[in-house]
Amino acid sequence: MVARVQIPRQAKRGEVIEIRIAIQHPMETGFRYDLMGKPIPKNVINNLSVRYNGAEVFRAEMSSGIAANPYLQFWAVAEASGEFVFEWMDDAGQRGAERAAITVNG
């Protein structure tokens, strides 16, 4: 699964930073049929968690109500230099992960 994560490379301590993630995924609803008339099974990214230096700052539980190629934008307090780890899993059991480093000054 291809994903793109955007966070600022640098921040001041205590600054609230914007985090954005977009994952390439069909978010299959389970209501569609393929060309042979067979139902396409539901397959959505049901869980996405974001950890910042080991502590969870954000978690999303999603259903088919989230559009294909799910995009999320949220915020976090920059506390210390380190790493954001994004991990997710879909109904088919496929996992994905992405990392992003941040330098916190001051």
Binding site: V16, T29, Y52, E61, P70, F74, W75
Partner: protein
Amino acid sequence: MGTPARRRFISVLAGLAAAPLWPARAARAQDDPFAPLVRKITGGAKVNSGRVTVDTPRLADNGHSVPLKVSVVSPMTAADHVRSITLLSGRNPRPLMATFHLGPKAGRPEVATRVRLNGSQRVLAVALLSDGSYWSGSAEVEVTESACLDAS
């Protein structure tokens, strides 16, 4: 000056016409498509309206991907923050669209995403604060081309 039989027949007709009106009107007064689901989420706790804003375009020409932003009024400190935000759809086959878990480390009680909407509807967001209270806000979205065509 009708016969008794005719009078009885007419009164039965009138009764038939009037009877179903009352329950229908009573049901309409408290007709909230979200109520059962919200009760399930909150466990029957009271949901206050306010503090939660749902931002969407008033008119979306495509229900497959509608930008949506939820924000809550909260200082986001360790003592007073938003614990979770749940997004509910008034018309989707799966009305529970997503739940976002936040905490004091989130800094700002705001999440933006893109949702799928099965036609014009009201979207409701329910926020759970750290003091255990629930707050909700909603937005009306007009969708010209709905998603999930096969389901509806």
